[in-house]
């Protein structure tokens, strides 16, 4: 077996674009199901998807509901990293985010990406 694979999935689209918001969760979900370590990074309007109560309101046709995917990814060990300036500029704090979401800044994203097998940016 090769070394443990790690996929970073960057999410920049918010709930106003359900398909582009959901596809990264579908990819991350398939990855955790395939025993790949997953780190999801939320920047820009993507941060809104990990605000409490928002994911459950997003659904794209022919994809599993975003709320189900988010809870499954977290349950299966996927990390949820959220851009600090992006949430501050939207008036959000850590208390507004779903369980498991971790507020980070640029250097942490860089560290995750440079140590990953692959990175997807949506």
């Amino acid at each position: 077996m090769p070394d443990q694979e790690k996929l970073v999935v960057m999410v920049t689209h918010g709930p106003d674009e359900p398909e582009l918001a959901t596809i990264p969760f579908a990819m991350a979900g398939a990855a955790v199901a395939s025993d790949v370590d997953v780190v999801m990074g939320f920047q820009g309007n993507g941060c809104l998807l990990v605000k409490k109560g928002v994911a459950e309101t997003v659904a794209a046709p022919e994809f599993a509901p975003l709320g189900d995917l988010l809870s499954t990814i977290h349950e299966l060990g996927g990390q949820l990293l959220v851009c600090s300036p992006c949430i501050k500029s939207r008036g959000l704090s850590e208390d507004d985010l779903v369980d498991g979401a971790e507020i980070v800044a640029a250097a942490r994203f860089v560290a995750e990406i440079t140590s990953a097998t692959s990175t997807l940016v949506y």
């Binding site: 579908a26 199901a33 395939s34 025993d35 994809f63 995917l69």
Partner: protein
């Protein structure tokens, strides 16, 4: 495709689930099995036809057989070592 008589250890009904939940549910169900045991998966997501074999190959499991039953796709998956 001819249908063999395969005795499953467990069955998973993933009918109605959309991408990528059939793969995620399959992965969870397979974790409960011992090596060599067989999961019967029934799904209606057409993407499963490509997704389940790809998942099996990347995780060291085996698709023993699959076929269509009406709108559903039935897979028999053997857990790898």
């Amino acid at each position: 495709m001819s249908q063999m008589q395969i005795q499953e250890t467990q069955a998973l009904d993933a009918r109605g689930l959309l991408c990528p939940m059939p793969v995620i549910k399959t992965a969870k169900a397979m974790k409960e099995l011992a090596p060599g045991e067989v999961l019967k998966l029934t799904a209606t997501d057409r993407g499963s036809i490509a997704d389940i074999p790809a998942w099996a190959e990347s995780t060291g499991n085996e698709v023993i057989e699959w076929h269509e039953e009406g709108d559903a796709i039935v897979f028999f998956l053997r857990k790898g070592a």
